[in-house]
Symmetry: C2
Subunit: 476 residues, 2 copies
């Protein structure tokens, strides 16, 4: 059966994941709807069953993700891959029968990596596994050659402030969680520059992989010097640490052609299922369509985009039309600028009061799956009811907060209820922003279940009598 | 404590490993010797306790491995890294107080990789994650550009024999186990060449990692054409398979500077603990000191070498001297020629009858640990008794056979009892022959326990009254 690829393997990720998959694979549509006392959700028993059956009947979402990632590859802002994918998505959404399909123009930054390398040249000569950080300036053609100091924290750096001038500062900070450790990528370059460092090297922000560097963005402090900045693998950071601990002189050569070109045209892709009663009220299902320029952005965030898009397609396919409009938004330029999210807010500012909810899927679909919610308590109760309905798909309790980078500006401007759809963060951050972010990490069944869950959440929220978060109870 | 590195993490490997580690970490010297009826091993209770205590008292083995891999890096035959490491090992073994320390000269092949790349150029342009296979010829300077056919087996290739001429044959065979799957690396290039293929690309022989290609050696059929050969990551092989399955034309460009230079001087490193009663009888503890030219060969087989070397050092350190001579051999050129193992056999052919046992450690130290044994049943019983004594170190039942590439020629020529010391093959083959073969995969405690186990096995076999495998019972 050449059109059905072999089930992807996920070796290299914790075995517990695979076990989790097997366990939840036993669950399916038949046991989906919890039985029990009458519920406001009884009215949704039939639509929900239809959506779940349709989403899990085949591997359509996975196949769409394969075509996206195989055909267009990475989708860094300003790249031909992103613009090709945008044009393709618009055409495909029209074929899917979505309403009001369009690309809303957004100008995006265009940072290009070019050739790059980091070499240990003393005490021994050896290439290190590196990726330049997005937004970094390049080095002179001959590279930056300097002694390195390895620091374990900003405090450690400050305590050795006089050693930093003229050096390459190496931040060797093991991964705790993304929010904590990413500080070193975000602020490390400029804090080193302030002390006179000539370049900054950051231990990759992620758990140790297989000598896998992780790229990602940062911004220079507006009032400081700009120095080139790169990430190295955790293994290479450990090596430099051991050398420093043994009292060896460490000398590095960093060469990067990185540069920022003029902003490039791009777009947010939008497709809708127009509401049957209150078409002007909108529930948004969002993701970001751009990616980093390593791997193919299958998990971050091709999968999220395919899931929200397929959710809308399935709603159309099974003949449903919610009370309000359901709007899919594939945001551009999340990774290095957030221009898509900002542009959406600005373009739709007047209609933000009519947005009843915005959801973003941008944390992969490694089980266990869960929605997160931020907003009025009345809305949380609804979201919890809907999520409980989806426990058969492996959807767990609703997280304390639900947010997303792209929906953030609009949610904040409109004070909107917001949801996230999350997978397990641990394997996600193992492959995040690496060359290993490919479709091989995406299990077709996980993606199908995520699509089903998002379709149900989106449909019910767009359809239920009261606006999400309103104090009015839903009528039965 | 700058001299004590943080405990290395092993994220990316199965969680079960980590659990295994924690479980066995609870065991230690106090519970080491099984109580029970009198045993021939009672005489060894004190020496064994001393060896285990000494091996597990600190991280000396791990620190030695760190110095080896940090200082000399990879140790491909013919490289300055290997020869530097050999000179260092000779000097260090002398400092350790080993006897008869020497380097026995061996000429080794010198294959150099040079720059290399594999690019998908149709249906899209995209670099693939590749490593040339050791022993491959290079391509013309402009590379080899050809359409590709993706095959799933040798049978599949033969059934499409007419499609292979002028093409690049891609073997997309998922990893089952090393013995089965390595056939495609070993014979794939020449079988493709026989059908007129212009190059061969082999899915990496290992479980899927993080888009990690695995190199390794192969030989051209003596009567056939030589074509360039490379490995690609499992993820890239999957991508090419999907493209073929969708009916897309796949065109590749392979560029390799690989070449074989003139043989280079190298050596087997030998150090001994000369026997107190029968110094002419020898028990060998072996490993290979060379590695592939990616990563630092910490697991394959730097760790094995440090373990057998440290075993001998500890025996000396605690003041033991076995009845027979214990000989540590760090073989050269296992990976791409086996010249070290062949040279040992030839140089020591006359004394092979005095070799009572040869052991090789070349499968890493990922728990669970186990010895393997091949030889007379009487020897197996002894080895099983000794291994049972080591269950507190996490050493399991003795495997059905014990062999090793380097000891193989001598074992065969002398019909000698042979042992292997093995870790779990699954994580081993995840990092085998990749850039991720670094010391970060080696847990200091695993290495200490392995060193203790090898020291005990080596000492007892070299010391016990009868030769291993002799029908004579050991005296109490």
């Amino acid at each position: 059966m050449p059109s059905v690829p072999p089930r992807p393997r996920r070796c290299g990720l914790p075995a517990s994941l695979v076990l989790g998959l097997v366990a939840s694979a036993a669950a399916g549509a038949p046991a989906l709807l919890a039985s029990g006392p009458d519920s406001w959700l009884d009215a949704y028993r039939d639509p929900v069953s239809k959506l779940v059956s349709a989403a899990t009947a085949d591997q359509a979402a996975w196949q769409r993700l394969a075509v996206l990632t195989d055909t267009f590859g990475h989708r860094l802002s300003g790249s031909p891959g992103l613009e090709g994918a945008i044009a393709w998505a618009v055409a495909e959404m029209k074929k899917d029968g979505l309403d009001n399909v369009r690309a809303e123009p957004v100008m995006v930054p265009r940072w290009v990596r070019g050739r790059e390398s980091l070499e240990l040249i003393d005490p021994v000569v050896r290439p290190l596994a590196m990726l330049g950080l997005g937004g970094s300036i390049g080095t002179p053609r001959e590279g930056v050659v300097a002694d390195a100091i390895v620091v374990s924290s900003f405090n450690d750096l400050e305590s050795r402030a006089r050693d930093a001038a003229g050096r390459i500062v190496v931040y060797n900070v093991p991964f705790i969680d993304y929010g904590q450790t990413v500080q070193y990528r975000a602020y490390g370059p400029s804090r080193a520059a302030r002390l006179g460092a000539v370049a900054a090297v950051v231990r990759s922000v992620g758990p140790m992989g297989l000598r896998t560097p992780h790229t990602g963005s940062f911004s220079y402090a507006p009032d400081g010097a700009k120095i080139p900045a790169a990430a190295i693998s955790a293994e290479d950071a450990n090596q430099l640490q051991r050398m420093q601990d043994r009292g060896e002189r460490i000398r590095l050569k960093l060469t990067m052609e990185a540069q920022a070109l003029a902003d490039a045209p791009s777009a947010n892709v939008i497709g809708e299922v127009v509401g049957r009663e209150r078409p002007e009220e909108v529930a948004v299902l969002g993701c970001h369509f751009d990616s980093w320029d390593v791997g193919t952005g299958a998990v971050d965030d091709g999968g999220g985009c395919v899931a929200v898009w397929e959710a809308a397609r399935l709603i159309t396919q099974v003949g449903l039309r919610p009370r309000r409009t359901l709007r899919v938004v594939l945001f551009t330029n999340e990774e290095n600028g957030l221009r898509g999210g900002l542009a959406y807010r600005d373009r739709h500012r007047d209609s933000l009061p009519n947005h009843v909810m915005m959801l973003e899927a941008d944390l992969g679909f490694f089980p266990p799956l869960a929605f997160g919610y931020s907003g009025p308590d009345a809305g949380r109760a609804r979201v919890e009811d809907i999520a409980a309905l989806l426990s058969g798909l492996g959807v767990g309790p609703v997280n304390a907060s639900g947010s997303g980078a792209d929906i953030g500006p609009s949610v904040q401007a409109g004070n909107l209820p917001s949801l996230s759809f999350n997978g397990d963060a641990k394997p996600y951050f193992l492959i995040h922003h690496t060359q290993a972010d490919t479709i091989d990490r995406v299990d077709p069944q996980d993606l199908a279940r995520a699509t089903a869950a998002i379709a149900v959440m989106g449909f019910v929220v767009a359809d239920m009598p009261e606006r999400l978060g309103s104090a009015e109870p839903a009528s039965r």
